[in-house]
């Protein structure tokens, strides 16, 4: 079983549309939406939920005011400023470390489970899908990503699937690291804008830091041919294969509005190019060990 993570650094370059198209093309894959705090893949794939798992991320302090003697030891010890001077918890700031409970001389603080969202195992028209919802203003999205990936991994193993296709989050921080750890290949979707090029170089750095092979797709390549050449030069210089160069094409938006993957929606040039890209990626995935 091979795992592909689709990432980009910059948001809005087309990760989800491309992942949905791959879902339509790969006959034997499990899908995993790891952009857990702004998940969109389900809007196209319309999963039917089979199993719901409660997600408890970090713990949270629970202060029993009736026991509190107002010694302020917890207030003084909390590095996250999550307890105010009146010894009230500031829920959004608590990172669940447990220091307050440890220093409290009268055991007025307990660390309790914190419901931070749900992970789901679902069925779609293209195969099984793992996805999640992070409760509003909750943290630990990296941990939730790991739960989604484990869910995808288990079902892929059980159903003997060939691929896991991961729709990754933007950025380079913990949810991205959790999304790409241990995958066989990352596909970095970029576009010919100076912002996207800057972000490509940083996210490429993350892939290299974790020794994960990467390939690049230049989406919307026709919006600035000069910048497209810059990306091609950068990739050539750094030995990063470019597996696809997609034109700017409003079909991508039209397909999304119709809640379909590009492959289902149209048989035009864009679908043709994405088919070619998928077969190249498939080849790389099956070659690498």
């Amino acid at each position: 079983m091979k795992q592909l993570a689709v990432i980009s650094g910059k948001g809005g370059t087309g990760k989800t549309s491309i992942t949905a198209a791959f879902a339509a093309l790969s006959k034997n894959a499990v899908l995993a939406d790891c952009d857990v705090d702004a998940a969109d893949l389900h809007l196209i794939l319309k999963p039917r939920i089979k199993k719901t798992m409660k997600f408890q991320g970090l713990k949270i302090a629970s202060i029993d005011q009736t026991l509190c003697i107002d010694c302020k030891k917890c207030y003084d010890s909390c590095r996250f400023h999550a307890i105010d001077e009146e010894i009230h918890l500031i829920k959004e700031s608590c990172e669940g470390c447990g220091v307050c409970a440890y220093v409290c001389p009268v055991d007025a603080i307990r660390m309790v489970g914190r419901d931070s969202g749900f992970a789901y195992l679902s069925e779609t028209r293209f195969g099984p899908m793992a996805h999640a919802v992070l409760t509003t203003a909750e943290e630990a999205s990296g941990k939730l990503v790991t739960l989604v990936r484990n869910t995808a991994f288990d079902i892929a193993k059980q159903k003997k699937k060939e691929f896991i296709l991961i729709d990754g989050p933007p950025g380079i921080g913990c949810p991205v690291i959790a999304s790409i750890t241990g995958v066989n290949l990352v596909l970095i979707v970029t576009e010919p804008t100076l912002s996207a090029i800057h972000d490509l170089e940083r996210v490429m750095g993350v892939a290299q830091h974790f020794h994960i092979p990467a390939v690049v797709c230049i989406n919307k390549s026709s919006i600035n041919s000069e910048n497209t050449s810059k990306i091609e030069e950068y990739c050539k210089k750094n030995n990063i294969p470019i597996v696809g160069k997609l034109p700017y094409d409003t079909t991508i938006t039209q397909a999304m509005i119709h809640e379909q993957s590009v492959i289902e929606f149209s048989d035009g040039i864009l679908s043709h190019d994405i088919r070619e890209m998928w077969s190249k990626i498939r080849e790389v995935l099956t070659q690498n060990g």
Binding site: K10, G11, Y102, T136, P170, I177, R202, F210, N224
Partner: protein, 278 residues
């Protein structure tokens, strides 16, 4: 006034709005809070003058004192420490610097050392005072860097924060303490869905907010209908235009070439200012 520009979905135009707005005002302070992928200065082109390292405290074990009792590793909620026979492994990227390990160590064997996780850079462009945070490659946690960055906020100026995408911790840390949130979206299915998630977050924080529709005309009416129903003000629409997209691709803020947009951004700011002052 502190104005945060956020979106939920990435690539909807947060940076475009933040930079064009800052350039349309006198005496603004623009802070790039997308420390994972900071893009503001590609457009602003500020002359940078200072760079400072941001550090976090991570534990270091005095092996002469340690007797490998394992209490530190048991206490650590983040699995940043592991005790194996005759060694304590520290995983600095997982450490949240809570100092719990040092508190529970019965032999006072844990000390702290500073670890650099990124930088805060300062520069100016015209009357725009600019700060950005840059997280080092391979670092997982943006929040400690964001906390240091937000200490640079100067409320004597018109402060504009360019938030990261998403709805999780870095976004919440960015918008916390802001007087107003501008939510930038696009009229597509993904834009609409992520806008709803972001509206939940902003309502949770009780910060007043309004919406800007970018690439207006590219999709359908779904965002507008939602805003009408929810009584969320749509403060501006930026049309889907090849000219704007091309300027964006070259790193040029469109108010620099389309001067008629300056007064529009100015009016937008005044409108928000009035609502916040009320």
């Amino acid at each position: 006034m502190i104005l945060a520009v956020a979106s939920g979905k990435g690539g909807t135009g947060k940076t475009t709005v933040a930079v064009n707005l800052a350039l349309s005002l006198e005496m603004s302070q623009l802070v790039d809070c997308d420390v994972e992928e900071p893009n503001v200065n590609i457009f602003l082109k500020a002359t940078m003058d200072t760079h400072e390292h941001v550090t976090v405290d991570t534990p270091t074990i005095n092996v002469k004192k340690c007797d490998y009792c394992g209490k530190c590793a048991d206490f650590c909620m983040y699995h940043a420490l592991a005790v194996v026979p005759k060694n304590v492994l520290v995983f600095p990227e997982l450490c949240h610097s809570c100092r719990g390990c040092a508190l529970v160590c019965p032999r006072d064997a844990i000390r702290w050392k500073k670890r650099i996780i990124g930088t805060i850079d300062h520069g100016t462009h015209g009357t725009v005072d600019f700060y950005q945070g840059v997280l080092n490659i391979g670092e997982a946690m943006a929040v400690p860097l964001l906390r240091s960055l937000k200490k640079k906020i100067d409320t004597t100026k018109h402060v504009i924060l360019d938030a990261p995408p998403g709805t999780a911790c870095p976004v919440i840390e960015t918008i916390r303490g802001s007087d107003y949130c501008l939510l930038v979206t696009e009229p597509t299915l993904f834009g609409f869905h992520d806008l709803k998630l972001m509206v939940d977050v902003v309502r949770h924080t009780a910060i007043p907010f309004g919406v800007i529709i970018n690439r207006d005309g590219i999709g359908n009416q779904i965002v507008e209908q939602y805003c009408q129903k929810e009584k969320i003000p749509i403060l501006m629409k930026i049309p889907h235009s090849n000219e704007i997209a091309h300027l964006y691709s070259q790193g040029i803020p469109f108010v620099e070439r389309m001067a008629n947009w300056r007064p529009k951004f100015n009016t937008l700011f005044q409108q928000i200012h009035e609502e916040v002052s009320r």
